[in-house]
């Protein structure tokens, strides 16, 4: 089954690559600024948070004095959170939105989540490489510990894929799932230390917040990019376990319900 799945993906690589390219193009096709919008929206977000939190509310990161520190702290969380949010929110509607395609054309259905993830990665790669360029120019690049981002990112993507697959399948059968998740992800964002430092959370609540798998992930990015330290590896075990569990659950659901899904669309 696994081999057949991989072979099907390989045979339809042209379709998958073409779809990724098409979706990217179609997003900015009728705009004058084109792909710059992919950069402008996270940039605006970072600007707003920087202004409000560091200038207006005069909040500073404890123990850091650099003028850029808070912006970098924000970018480390906002950009990576954006990748997570894009995969999950696009993923939960991927089967619904492609209902017609699924019903009329016989093609490997596993292509759809791959297209969603690939698209999100393309968008992320653009903004994140600009962010790295900014770090290099301003002399804030942390050097070797930067490599620590790679495994963290891998765990985060795995988590997003698993969640997206589960949500995407459930959403076909229970449309409430989609509505619920759109609300839930907003709470989730504020329950994750993206905008604020984790230390401002009361000590009694901190252990509870660590159960949020995104907390250790986002903290790792911040640790690497702001403090220039390697991630705190033991922290990442829980997100990794959860990500693997979600992926297994997602694939099991997919195998069990993929056929029924077409009848339901």
């Amino acid at each position: 089954m696994g081999g057949a799945l991989l072979r099907a993906i390989w045979n339809y690589r042209g379709f998958i690559l073409g779809s990724v390219r098409r979706e990217f193009q179609s997003k900015y096709r009728n705009t004058m600024l084109g792909a710059s919008w992919a950069v402008l929206s996270p940039l605006a977000l970072v600007l707003v948070y920087t202004l409000i939190f560091s200038q207006v509310m005069h909040s500073r990161l404890p123990g850091v004095t650099s003028p850029y520190a808070y912006s970098i702290y924000l970018c480390a969380g906002v950009l990576t959170w954006g990748l997570f949010a894009e995969i999950t929110t696009r993923g939960q509607v991927m089967f619904l939105e492609n209902g017609n395609l699924l019903k009329k054309i016989s093609f490997p259905r596993i292509s759809l989540p791959i297209i969603v993830v690939a698209n999100a990665l393309v968008n992320f790669a653009i903004v994140f490489s600009l962010f790295i360029a900014f770090l290099l120019i301003t002399g804030q690049f942390v050097g070797l510990p930067f490599l620590g981002i790679v495994p963290v990112l891998a765990i985060q993507i795995l988590l997003s894929i698993g969640l997206a697959l589960v949500l995407g399948i459930l959403n076909v059968f229970f449309r409430d799932v989609g509505q619920f998740f759109n609300i839930a992800i907003q709470f989730w964002f504020w329950l994750t230390p993206v905008v604020y430092p984790f230390s401002i959370i009361p000590a009694t609540l901190q252990p509870w917040l660590l159960w949020n798998p995104m907390t250790p992930l986002i903290q790792s990015y911040q640790r690497v990019l702001v403090d220039g330290q390697w991630p705190h590896w033991p922290q990442l075990v829980w997100p990794l376990v959860l990500a693997l569990l979600l992926c297994v659950l997602g694939l099991k659901l997919f195998r069990k319900r993929a056929n029924e899904m077409v009848d339901e669309l």
Binding site: N11, L101, I105, F107
Partner: protein, 427 residues
């Protein structure tokens, strides 16, 4: 390569009494099933050999599209097994996967890849695809500016750019102008000649007769008949008229009937017509049917060949001067021909009560291949230029028949084949 085997296939959709019961079934599987199954296909069993051209007919909701989806593999059967050998191309809905914001050329690349072709293969086939679609310079414009006909031409062209082993065509070809339709059928025919197996859904009897050498008639999700297209179409027409009995074995008997027997007098049942029909206690229309040149009862007849319209009336009162008439209308309601026995100069003759009066009108069917309806009437006491003292029965559209193209006929268009004789001379 190219065979299709459908064995004991059934398809059911799950129906849940409320939105919550699916959740309950998923969350608490030990409490058992909460859904009921709605069967749309049951016990479908057939085998199609490579190179056969098979028509699939049936009224809306008979399960044709579901069956095609099962064969193409987009949907899975609930019971049974479907095996296909070779590459399947399905034209279930043309233009699927076209993105309005992209140019025709880009969409061709995407659609081709969705068919499982590589980018290089599609690029190599591009000139041929564009040539067949006749899109012209529009190919580099966004698909949103295309007419539906243009989209359909491009989609057909892509879908059939490589000869498949099995070609499955839904009623997608109904759009597009007649010239392009002919071109499409030309391509389909060349495929079948080259060995492609064709499974073709259509409501057009003429097309099925022309293209298919076998026809499967689906009725209420089961195969009601599988055999010669002319017989299958007859049954289909009969179902459209709402006169089929429920038992499928009777269908077989009907289809196998060669020369039409005259019904026994005791079995006669009054036929009812559509809204606006006139009935009186004096007479009942008990039979309206078309017989081909060999006396076989048919609802699909070949153009230009003689056919007999047989109308029978059972009289409940003795009449002095009864006459029978008919009217043939095309699908737009245009009356193509109308006459009656009085207008045909039949002298008056009294007919006693309890007698069945049979009128056989033999006509050469010099009509364009299409669907036609028959209206019948019965009157007493003709006078003047076709007037009657009493109209005793008049029934709209009691019967319909289809005229299929006569392969031996000349090529012509219009409503009536005037069968011209030609003499060319020079001086």
């Amino acid at each position: 390569m190219g065979s299709i085997t459908v064995r004991q296939v059934g398809k059911a959709y799950k129906q849940y009494p409320t939105r919550w019961s699916r959740l309950a079934e998923w969350a608490l599987p030990m409490l058992g099933n909460r859904h009921s199954l709605k069967w749309v296909l049951r016990d479908i069993d057939f085998h199609i050999e490579a190179g056969e051209a098979v028509g699939l007919i049936g009224v809306n909701g008979a399960g044709k599209s579901t069956l095609l989806k099962l064969i193409t593999g987009t949907s899975q059967p609930t019971t049974g097994v479907i095996t296909t050998h070779g590459r399947v191309a399905a034209l279930l809905e043309l233009g699927m996967g076209f993105h309005p914001d992209f140019t025709g050329r880009q969409n061709v690349l995407i659609a081709g890849q969705l068919l499982g072709l590589s980018l290089e293969e599609v690029t190599a086939l591009m000139p041929e695809i564009l040539d067949f679609a006749e899109i012209g310079e529009y190919i580099d414009q966004q698909v949103r500016v295309y007419s539906s006909g243009m989209q359909m031409r491009l989609a057909f062209s892509v879908a059939t750019c490589v000869r498949p082993d099995i070609l499955i065509v839904d009623e997608a070809l109904a759009v597009g102008d007649v010239f392009f339709q002919q071109k499409c059928f030309g391509r389909i025919e060349s495929f079948t000649k080259a060995g492609t197996t064709l499974l073709f859904v259509s409501h057009s009897a003429g097309t099925v007769l022309n293209i298919c050498n076998r026809c499967i008639f689906l009725r209420n999700g089961a195969v009601a008949f599988d055999g010669a297209p002319a017989d299958a179409l007859d049954l289909y027409q009969a179902e459209l008229l709402g006169r089929l009995d429920q038992a499928p074995d009777q269908l077989q008997v009907r289809a196998a009937t060669a020369v039409a027997p005259v019904p026994a007098k005791d079995d006669l049942v009054a036929i009812t017509g559509k809204t606006g029909s006139i009935t009186t206690p004096s007479v009942d229309c008990v039979l309206v049917r078309m017989l081909d040149a060999h006396g076989n009862e048919r609802t699909t007849l070949i153009a230009d060949q003689p056919a007999t319209l047989q109308i029978e009336y059972l009289l409940h009162e003795s009449l002095r001067d009864p006459h029978v008439g008919f009217k043939i209308r095309n699908r737009y309601g245009v009356v193509l021909f109308e006459t009656n026995s009085y207008c045909m100069g039949q002298p008056s003759r009294p007919v006693a009560a309890g007698t069945v009066l049979t009128a056989n009108f033999t006509v050469p069917l010099v009509l364009v291949p299409d669907e036609y309806t028959i209206t019948v009437g019965f009157s007493d006491g003709g006078y003047g230029e076709g007037s009657f003292e009493r109209v005793l029965n008049y029934m709209h559209e009691v019967h319909c028949f289809v005229i299929a193209r006569n392969p031996e006929a000349i090529t012509w268009s219009g409503l009536v084949n005037l069968q011209p004789q030609l003499q060319l001379s020079t001086r």
